[in-house]
């Protein structure tokens, strides 16, 4: 588990007023797609817990991050960084057609997948009803309602779903109980992770086919079929 110092170098509000923060930090601290980094401003108790940061886009000396909660940081704020933590997305080597599904409050956590798979031969499609930032032209966008009809198109699907909305997922995908997707799918489950794996406190527990799993250390990315949903 890495432990580093970082610095907020820029803050921007994306479409939908979702905050993104540019963090200057060592390369080894940058989380891969779906992983998170725990960040704390030790001089400020406004955030009494560490803030999970997900990568949006890497740059030479750091990365653009999307915080899980609003933060009171300003450019120049020094951050204590622990991580990267958890399991991220693991894309198949022979990926042709990538389907992305965003049910959370932002599409940002899925953006590293777009950069990673820009070479996907068959294309990339994002299904969401969220307001969108500027996105690469190679990415096609469709509303969630069209997902049922397009369900056979991808050969891999990456989803971003709040734990509280996992119960809706079957309806969103148009799948009846007992059926699954005909290709691999991984889901980034978002939920508060207060202990970030330090305590196995259970606040982020999610039911799986093999008992309870913790989003903070077993996830936050899971094989969709390994979860009960």
């Amino acid at each position: 588990m890495g432990h580093n110092k970082g610095r907020v170098s820029e803050i921007r509000l994306e479409t939908g007023r979702h905050m993104e923060v540019r963090i200057a930090c060592p390369a080894g601290a940058i989380p891969s797609a779906g992983q998170y980094l725990l960040a704390s401003d030790l001089d400020n108790l406004d955030n009494v817990l560490g803030i999970p940061l997900f990568a949006v886009e890497k740059y030479q000396h750091g990365f653009w991050a999307t915080p899980q909660y609003p933060v009171a940081w300003t450019p120049g704020t020094t951050l204590d960084l622990v991580g990267p933590l958890g399991h991220g997305f693991d894309l198949p080597h022979n990926l042709q057609r990538l389907g992305l599904v965003a049910l959370g409050e932002t599409v940002s956590r899925l953006m590293p997948m777009v950069h990673l798979t820009a070479q996907a031969q068959g294309g990339m499609t994002l299904f969401t009803d969220l307001a969108l930032p500027l996105l690469p032209t190679a990415l096609e966008i469709y509303p969630l309602a069209s997902l049922k009809e397009a369900l056979d198109w991808p050969d891999f699907m990456a989803l971003d779903v709040p734990l509280t909305r996992m119960v809706e997922l079957r309806d969103v995908l148009g799948l009846s109980y007992g059926t699954g997707l005909p290709y691999p799918a991984q889901v980034l489950v978002t939920t508060p992770i207060p202990c970030a794996g330090m305590a196995q406190c259970g606040a982020c527990a999610v039911p799986s086919r093999r008992g309870w799993k913790l989003v903070c250390e077993d996830g936050p990315v899971f094989e969709l079929n390994s979860l009960k949903w």
Binding site: M1, H3, L38, S40, L42, L45, V48, L49, G50, Y69, D80, V82, T191, P192, P194, C195, A196, M198, A199, Q200, C201, G202, A203, C204, A205, W212
Partner: protein
């Protein structure tokens, strides 16, 4: 730490439920800065996580309602007793005080486990003094026993615990209710700097009564720790601060 010896050096430890079941030597905590390690709460049989909303933030803190999930005493011993044996600091096993027989069974079993230096028994929030006495007696044996009392009722219950043989009392997080965004009223334990004033008052009242007290609740800065020791605590327990990871070291 021998029986009845509560010389924590330094006088600081984690609270039950804040750092898992064993001191993870590969994690970010500098264990040399703690005087003891307290395990996550352990029950005789497995407990699953609570259903429904388990976390709510509020200004100055947060509420947790986790159900104290754990795999049960047998699995905890199988997975973690080896770590306790090799721990660089004294290990105090926290027992969920759900029932007198259950606590007695777990305590007797732990007396034979190498590396266990003491027991902390968590008292349920609606316990009365008779229950506290019974739980203390059930836990008492070869290991020193700390009774973790509901913070709001600690003054009422502490004397019973000490008279029954506990070497000290510690303070469980106070319970509260927070309305969720959907209007649901979520109950649980309260953490964060916002509860420090309540915790300090309880520590002061307890120590004025001559009760050996391990202070806990809302300690997030060196000043908070100092205030707790000044109020008479013989040691302090940290909780949410440790989840800010390296932030903990700033206390030293």
């Amino acid at each position: 730490m021998a029986k009845h010896d509560l010389a924590f050096d330094p006088p600081i430890m984690n609270a039950a439920g804040s750092l898992g079941f064993f001191p993870d030597l590969h994690g970010p905590i500098d264990w040399g800065t703690l005087g003891a390690f307290v395990t996550n709460p352990v029950s005789l049989t497995p407990r699953t996580p609570a259903r429904g909303s388990r976390f709510q933030a509020y200004p100055g803190g947060f509420l947790l309602h986790t159900g104290y999930p754990n795999p049960g005493m047998s699995q905890v011993l199988r997975r973690h007793a080896g770590h306790w044996r090799g721990s660089p600091l004294p290990v105090i096993v926290h027992l969920l005080g759900q029932g007198i027989e259950e606590v007695a069974k777990m305590a007797r079993r732990l007396e034979t486990v190498e590396g266990v230096s003491g027991l902390e028994v968590g008292v349920v929030s609606d316990a009365n003094a008779e229950m506290v006495v019974a739980l203390t007696l059930a836990a008492s044996g070869e290991l020193p026993v700390i009774m973790r009392l509901p913070m709001e009722r600690s003054v009422e219950l502490a004397a019973a615990a000490i008279q029954a043989g506990a070497v000290a009392v510690s303070l469980a997080p106070p319970r509260g209710i927070i309305p969720a965004k959907d209007g649901e009223l979520v109950q649980g334990r309260l953490y964060g700097p916002a509860i420090l004033p309540l915790a300090l008052r309880m520590v002061q009242l307890l120590t004025q009564l001559g009760i050996p007290t391990i202070g806990a609740g809302g300690i997030y800065t060196p000043e908070h720790k100092k205030a707790m020791l000044t109020a008479g605590a013989l040691a302090v327990q940290l909780d949410g601060l440790l989840w800010r990871a390296a932030g903990y070291t700033s206390l030293m």
